[in-house]
């Protein structure tokens, strides 16, 4: 009965089925989530199209005019419509640096999450499915790393990289070092969740069935177990994106992140921080707000995804 009904209602396949799903329903029912999604999407779009969207190119020294430095936002008495959110100490447009800064933050955050998901899920899957020595080694390693705060691990890796990477390549390499540092600092969480889920899936009969058929263990791990453990990982990854962005901002704020020539939100906040007490509040306030809004939106999305995908909360 039910089969025929849904079949009649959704003849054109995936799009209809997707629009009909519980996930879309719970998404559309919550305005907070819709707004968070729109905000996140706007961040991603502006990051992708930053060179076309930004009113100025803040990294083109020729276009900078030091006479325009410290221009306050447009709505204040001394403001100008040319720089809606004002300018910093070098006359760069805050709105434009914001757009480019968010881009760096998102790229670093996204790549770092991807890195730790690949590392954590791979090792967690191995530990959970193979068991024995592989499990002991991987999980003890993860346990030890979890005793050290992630930010310290990231600082340590950053420090080591600074020693290894030659001076002339440092600025160029700093973004990759940052991705590596944040990615490595966060993998144990994914490894733990994946291992737990793998232990559950491993003992289900469909895995036994695959073994009886003679499917290679590696293939069982990736084709059967992996798709079934990706649900919780996806949720963690979303929340992890917010965390990675914050970690990146923290590192940049501490001065070990991306160089000021290629500022992320964290770098902008640090630079602006120097002018906070001399009255140029806009230089640090707007990057901070941008960071808060982005992290909040991503976090709300992650929370919703966790609830929506959790069958017990349905």
């Amino acid at each position: 009965m039910l089969d025929e009904k849904t079949a009649a209602k959704a003849p054109s396949g995936f799009v209809h089925r997707f629009m009909d799903s519980d996930l879309v329903y719970s998404f559309l029912r919550s305005p907070v989530v819709v707004i968070s999604f729109i905000i996140t999407a706007l961040y991603f779009l502006s990051a992708a199209f930053a060179p076309w969207i930004a009113p100025h190119n803040p990294f083109d020294p020729a276009s900078l005019d030091l006479m325009e430095a410290f221009t306050p936002p447009a709505w204040t008495a001394d403001g100008s419509m040319k720089f809606i959110l004002g300018t910093d100490d070098q006359g760069r447009d805050i709105l434009s640096t914001l757009i480019f800064g968010s881009r760096i933050s998102l790229i670093v955050g996204f790549s770092a999450v991807l890195f730790s998901v690949v590392l954590g899920v791979g090792l967690g899957l191995l530990a959970g499915y193979a068991g024995g020595w592989a499990e002991t080694i991987v999980m003890r390693f993860a346990d030890v790393q979890l005793t050290i705060p992630a930010i310290l691990v990231a600082l340590m890796i950053d420090g080591i990289a600074r020693i290894i990477v030659p001076v002339e390549l440092r600025d160029e390499m700093s973004i990759y070092v940052l991705i590596l540092a944040i990615g490595v600092s966060d993998w144990p969480r994914y490894a733990r969740v994946t291992r737990g889920a793998t232990l559950v899936e491993r003992n289900k009969e469909y895995v036994s069935a695959a073994r009886v058929i003679g499917v290679h263990p590696i293939k069982i791990m990736f084709q059967h177990v992996l798709p079934n453990v990706m649900g919780p990982v996806l949720v963690m990854g979303t929340i992890g994106l917010a965390l990675a962005i914050i970690t990146e901002a923290t590192l940049s704020f501490l001065g070990v992140g991306v160089p000021p020539t290629q500022p992320s939100l964290g770098t902008l906040i640090r630079v602006g921080n120097n002018f906070l007490f001399s009255g140029e509040w806009w230089i640090t306030l707007f990057p901070s707000l941008a960071l808060v809004i982005l992290v909040l939106a991503v976090n709300l999305l992650g929370d919703w995804l966790r609830d929506a995908l959790n069958p017990r909360l349905r």
Binding site: K204, E205, A209, R211, V212, N228
Partner: protein, 344 residues
Amino acid sequence: MSDVTETSDNTVAASNTSATDKPPVLEVVDLKKHFPVKKGIFQTTVGQVFAVDGVSFTINEGETLGLVGESGCGKSTVGRALMRLIEPTSGTIKLDGRDVTNLSKRELRPFRREMQIIFQDPFSSLDPRMTAGKIVGEPLSVHGIGDSRDERREMVAELFERVGLRKGQMDNFPHQFSGGQRQRIGIARALALNPKLIVGDEPVSALDVSIQAQVINLLLDLQAERQLSYLFISHNLAVVEHISHKIAVMYLGRIVEYASKEAIFRSPKHPYTKALLSAVPVPDPTLKRDKLVLQGDVPSPVNPPKGCHFHTRCPFAEDICRKDSPPLREITPGQLAACHFAEA
């Protein structure tokens, strides 16, 4: 008596099949599976669970052996050890006369084609992220049967129709099927490699009674059509009676009675079998029966009782039962029981 070997345990003749020189499809001799019990930070072994403790039986072509017993008696462990899902501790498993007990995973692969399993739980036995067609087609692609994707899809479609599913359902996911339909997918997957032997690990226990009958009739049809052999593991005597030619009754890791279906149901020799049969409900309230009701619980397989495993609950137990373990011996031709006092 085609398959008389050195052990007397294997002398039960195929019920009605004529004697041939062919080796039995499956021959299991003295199969044991002991699980170590580990404790403490050093994981030292402090004991053994005697899950399966010396089980022997044979299954001929086109024949069904029903393996019955209450939960925890080791019947599922037998099935899983046969499929090498768990490694047997000792004993031999012969498939078509060839010893497969000690083959490595790689060497075992060709034999996978001849021996498949249907699982109990139709919900966890199918990968929820794969379509039904992919699930049934996986054994084909793993073993390189069929030259192209289209050809395999064609074969899967045939299998679908054979087990009573529609071809159009191949692209559906498992959650879109009912329990009975899912079990049919499981059967189609087991059939895909055209095996000689299918182990059914309680394949109908999780289904509604009306669906049970359909699935069992499907299994019977397939057997008649392809000369399949079944090892049918179940705790449901009515189902086992319907499908089996021979029956082995297990208690605490050992076979206590092993005979043709007719002999078991007409004149059970072992007190445990008698108790099992008298517990089967009869749809006739006026019928008075001598009920043999057992007291107590099944003892733990970690410390099975000395002597006869059944003596702690047996109403007829005497001193000898507490000392000596009774061998499985022939009571009447073709009927074996492990009881000191069993008589023809």
